[in-house]
């Protein structure tokens, strides 16, 4: 074991002896009475693992060691006693690691000192990971923004009459406004109002929960009855009663099974032939005209032409796991990889996991070329093969 060095800067002999006695014989203790002497000693590259000092000198010492590379990470404990004034306000950042209350009993003091000595050793033994890249919030590259604004403006001007007519039709067809606003999470989980033409009855959101059984993303999970065999395999093999019981409304359930099941339930809700959609709405959806108001979102900078679908919040919050959070590091968009990869070909369903992985793929690889390709493919896919 390497020797550990403890530096004491304590004027009073009695206290210095007491602290030294506590630290014991296993460490090399260097003691100075005055700050000046300690400063001189600290100028050359000394080994030191812990510094304990008087309250008065502690703060000047803190400034000194935090400014030097060699001693920057040495824990500094400042002596104090209850009822006595500390030299500087506690609230400011002082460079002091902890306060040692001298009139506590020896055991407490010792516990603290030995904790910091082990910590110091531990910190030194770990390979420094080096500097980390600062967190980069996603911002749209200039070329992308330019493309977005020019295309969105052009399309809005060209389609203005159509947009007006559609709005009128929606208002005539069923009660409610022409535009439907939904809160969505885009790049970096930036939450904004996404605009769509209203294709459902007003107040449709409240009906959502009643429809969960129609969900096409739901994988078949055998429904456990109330007499569920609430034993996971691990417990059953050992012949033990359940080791992880959670209490549900009316029955106990095994936590392992519960967690497995909740993984199986779908992250997205989409329905075939959703009963809440109006007749006109069905046409708007099939022709993708309902998405046109998002051109205004693009102008505002909430979204881009190509990117990952901005998700409703209840879906987005399920993707903030370590595995999927990367999805939010890309732009939010009107169309994207997912739309052109599978949906256009009318192949079967895509699991939400695959969809998220495609989103991540796009976030990491997008470029001017891929964007143009996706826009091109989208043109062909507008009339969707699936009634979704």
């Amino acid at each position: 074991m390497a020797t550990l060095y403890v530096l004491l800067v304590i004027e009073n002999d009695l206290i210095a002896n007491r602290v030294a006695g506590l630290i014991g014989m296993n460490y090399l203790i260097i003691r100075f009475r005055e700050l000046k002497e300690a400063e001189e000693w600290l100028t050359d590259r000394q080994e030191v693992d812990l510094i304990i000092s008087d309250g008065v000198t502690g703060y000047s010492l803190a400034d000194l060691i935090r400014s030097k590379r060699d001693y920057r990470l040495v824990p500094l404990l400042v002596l104090s006693r209850f009822g006595e004034a500390l030299v500087e306000p506690i609230s400011t950042s002082t460079g002091v690691t902890d306060i040692l209350i001298i009139n506590e009993d020896n055991q407490r003091l010792l516990a603290k000192i030995s904790y910091y000595l082990t910590l110091s050793k531990q910190i030194h033994s770990i390979e420094s990971a080096g500097l980390l890249a600062p967190v980069q919030s996603f911002t749209l590259p200039f070329w992308k923004r330019l493309l977005d604004i020019s295309v969105a403006l052009l399309v809005i001007i060209l389609l203005a009459p159509l947009l007006l007519v559609i709005s009128l039709l929606i208002i005539i067809d069923s009660r409610g406004p022409a535009i439907y606003k939904s809160k969505r999470a885009g790049a970096n989980f930036h939450v904004f109002d996404m605009y769509k033409f209203r294709t459902m009855e007003a107040e449709a959101d409240q009906l959502l929960n009643q429809l969960a059984s129609y969900n096409i993303y739901d994988t078949e999970v055998p429904v456990e009855t109330t007499e569920m065999k609430f034993l996971c395999d691990a417990c059953r093999l050992k012949g033990l009663p359940c080791q992880l019981v959670l209490f549900d409304k009316n029955q106990p359930i095994c936590e392992k099974l519960y967690l497995e099941e909740s993984k199986g339930t779908a992250k997205f809700m989409k329905f075939r032939n959703d009963p809440r959609v109006t007749r006109l709405g069905t046409f708007l959806r099939n022709s993708s005209i309902d998405e046109l108001p998002q051109l205004f979102n693009i102008l505002l900078g909430d979204m881009s032409l190509v990117g990952n679908r901005p998700l409703p919040l209840y879906e987005a919050e399920k993707l903030t796991s370590d595995e999927f959070a990367r999805r939010f590091s890309g732009p939010a968009g009107l169309t994207g990889l997912w739309q052109v990869k599978k949906r256009g070909k009318g192949e079967g369903q895509m699991s939400d996991r695959d969809r998220t992985l495609l989103d991540i793929e796009y976030s990491t690889t997008f470029s001017f070329k891929t964007d143009i390709q996706i826009i091109w493919k989208t043109m062909f896919n507008l009339w969707q093969k699936e009634n979704v």
Binding site: L73, P89, Q136
Partner: protein
């Protein structure tokens, strides 16, 4: 005055989402590893609250919580664990080791924000008591008089040790 929050997580994308949601309400410092967070605390940087993952490669979230609770200067600050490990045993361990709240991934960043505000509301009052204990009176250059250690006086005027 914005409260200062330390975020400790090795996944830059998770940090990104947190920063996006919290940056309006809080001043934020980011540590990409547990070790980096420990360095900041040893150097005496002060935070009003800490959000950390448990599973960190070199210096775990639990060790970090222990360090925060050890120091008299930081013992009072709220610690929120935001982790992908979320079985109830882990939650219980974290809470027993000194964490104030446990949120599991995937998470809703708005909930993290609400939780921080709630904890800081609570943390405001006891903190002042500690401040009083280690009373804040600037007397620069004045020498402490150690030579008359008087336990009785200190107990009368200073209250009892908390740890």
């Amino acid at each position: 005055m914005k409260r200062h929050v330390l975020i400790v997580d090795e996944n830059p994308y998770v940090v990104d989402i947190l920063v996006q949601t919290l940056c309006k309400d809080f001043k934020i410092t980011i540590a990409g590893t547990g070790q980096e967070a420990a360095h900041l605390l040893i150097q005496g940087y002060r935070f009003d609250s800490v959000i950390t993952e448990i599973e960190l490669t070199s210096f775990s979230g639990l060790e970090l919580t222990k360090l925060i609770r050890m120091s008299r200067l930081t013992a009072q600050i709220p610690v929120v664990i935001l982790s992908s490990v979320s079985d109830s045993n882990t939650r219980i361990t974290c809470l027993e080791q000194g964490a104030d709240a446990f949120l599991s991934k995937p998470f809703n960043p708005l909930e993290v924000k609400a939780k921080l505000h709630a904890l800081l509301r609570r943390a405001d009052s006891p903190d002042q008591e500690v401040q009083k204990r280690l009373s804040v009176r600037a007397n620069k250059g004045g020498k402490t008089i150690w030579s008359y250690p008087s336990r009785i006086l200190s107990i009368l005027f200073g209250g009892f040790a908390v740890s």
